[in-house]
Symmetry: C2
Subunit: 462 residues, 2 copies
Amino acid sequence: MTSSQIIDSVLDQVDSGLEQSLERLFALLRIKSISTDPAYAEECRKAADWIATELKALGFDAAARPTPGHPVVVAHGPEQVGPHVLFYAHYDVQPVDPLNLWHTDPFEPQIVEKDGRKIIVARGASDDKGQMLTFIEACRAWKAATGSLPIRISLMLEGEEESGGKNLPPFMRDNAEELQADIALVCDTDMWDRQTPSITTMLRGLVADEVEIIAADKDLHSGMFGNAARNPNQLLAEIIASLRAPDGSVTLPGFYDDVAEISPELKAQWAGLGFDEKTFLGAVDLSVPAGEQGRTVLEQLWARPTCEINGMSGGYIGDGFKTVIPARASAKISFRLVSGQDPQKIRAAFRAHVEKMLPADVSVKFTPHGGSPAITVPADGEFLRRALSGLTDEWGKQAVITGSGGSIPVVGDFKSILGLDTLLIGFAHVDDQIHSPNEKYDLESFHRGIRSWVRVLGALAQ
Amino acid sequence: MTSSQIIDSVLDQVDSGLEQSLERLFALLRIKSISTDPAYAEECRKAADWIATELKALGFDAAARPTPGHPVVVAHGPEQVGPHVLFYAHYDVQPVDPLNLWHTDPFEPQIVEKDGRKIIVARGASDDKGQMLTFIEACRAWKAATGSLPIRISLMLEGEEESGGKNLPPFMRDNAEELQADIALVCDTDMWDRQTPSITTMLRGLVADEVEIIAADKDLHSGMFGNAARNPNQLLAEIIASLRAPDGSVTLPGFYDDVAEISPELKAQWAGLGFDEKTFLGAVDLSVPAGEQGRTVLEQLWARPTCEINGMSGGYIGDGFKTVIPARASAKISFRLVSGQDPQKIRAAFRAHVEKMLPADVSVKFTPHGGSPAITVPADGEFLRRALSGLTDEWGKQAVITGSGGSIPVVGDFKSILGLDTLLIGFAHVDDQIHSPNEKYDLESFHRGIRSWVRVLGALAQ
């Protein structure tokens, strides 16, 4: 058989086995693996065991491995051919409150029809059990159709993604040798739209800092002291205002020094995505892009760093009015970073800027809240090229490369702990209601997600 | 007898009757007239009745008059000679918590010695029962020594000063004709220092506004939207920062248009007060005056308007960090005004300034929190001159004219409802711990406060 014939036979296997794939998905969805609530710890263990059992049945050397929190499932396929991929997903889910807003039991999955499409409704249907099983069912189809996996495959499936679990990075460090691979695959993202598959190659980094301005040693009465006493609210506002220039750019010295322009190719490709700025901003009742003038909204979101005031407080903020001059005022400020920017350097520049603005009798206290660099997968990589071609074959439309304005910490951990680049490939849609009542996954996302992985694995095997 | 001999005889009466004056003060201090706590309503009524009874015994036509809240005691002396003064004080007191910080029972007054001075310790000893009785006991001494009061005297003594009671202005409006007089006297302020009596002639006014900036129609994730979506925290900070120029002045157009410079005489007199800016700011751990450069701290506090950010909040302000771009941010902002400034004009200038800074897709909501103009008693008035001379005679040191950075609403009401100027004369000290545990009034404040009023009433009678 030609490789194309082989792929076709695996895809036939996917199509004919879809009912059984759905049954397995439903079995997993029925397990209430809510990671943040200790009452569901046993359910999390059950989900991990269920997955390990399924993977063992497919010939993987698989086990639910203990951590101080919920188990991490690690599995290694028997094949030693081709590139070695490490697939990541998470088996834990968000809580289901408010339960009364669900139209059906969140842990009794159903297929219903909505807007002419069949959707799978359940907590975790999309995030991330449905996405996880697209990969595992693709492995199953390869095994069933050809007797083996096309390349060397390992999996690492965690149970604390939804609870900010701090246990995965240490686990990765402790097992770094075992987890070595050539590339990581993550299935936890969206398609660009219903017709267009995408691979996310740019994730912004984050530096978060809390700044507290301390003026007088007690709250003062604005009648007694107003004008003569420094008001930390005023000073904090001046500091925050000074962080942005009128053209929307961030003013910190050196902030853009290490920021590269995106390539003309990527720029052209993004321009071709048909992204409608008016629709995007209009959906949240905005119309004026707030970032750097002369940049498209997509550039502002994916390829340009930002400074955001996530929280700000000082003085009396209850009902009514109090004429107080507070002793302190504080703000939670974060910087989204792009490739090249050093989180430590940005944090230092921010703090130096704040300190420069303080009068002699005012002090400042900084509290760091984590920092991680931006992630960029080299756009000319061979794995990326092959994965794009696999997706393009399945969907009949050129797969696109997208950025994301947010951060996915595990991708940074793959890079910093294991030295791995990551391909982010997912089949979810923006209307999947993840983290909300009535979460769903399109039946098409599930079915063609499995088919997509079949093709991507085939393409990686070439 | 010469008028000087008459005054001396009244002062002798004060001295010889001091023990009885103290007994009456103690009787009033034992009444728990905490106005803000409904559990003490009966005690408030008791205090009002006690005062009315005392005044009736002195020949006043006196009664505790009902209001929707606590009673107002109104009394009129029988004399029709000389100028007509309306004396104001309040018989209600602050709550006493935290009780465990009191060294003695707050409602069992004691005279103790502290730093070589005798002090009266009790809730209300200074604020305002002790101050109130200095005037009533002066009336008593005049009556005892001469058989009558030297001028026409009315009193209005309220019971809701400490509970923000809104019942006094309507009461004044309803009884405006009965409350007519030539000048109001208020005994609720401090001396300049232990040696120097003072009359406060300038009180700043106040305009308070709440401003809410509304951007997106929901909170946004700063990864998804950061840079492209307007952050209302940032915008609010820019608005606040724009309110002050680098030289410390307020930037609102027209803000200083109606602000007059203080007279060279007053300036010289304030310069002679020996006010130590370093000590004043140092007491609250500050050292750099924050207001207009080139103005003394006293000028900044008493004679220059200010803009203060009393409260500011937006986004996530709890523990930890959330990368949110909030939909809204808000601030409570007040302007302390000086004589000549129109509260409505200032409020309008502020709102126009805010609206001018809003991008097309951002809206604003304003909530007014009251406004009142500044009060200035004409510095060349005859009543002021006489009262200063009476105080100077008693203390053997030139009485000074001071300003106050704060507002005393009743003084504005005297002006706006009754058309009356007010002389603010008091004998309290900054260390009286009013509103705090272990409130005290110096025995000297009480004794020489009575003597001071004897002389002031005598001077007004000339």
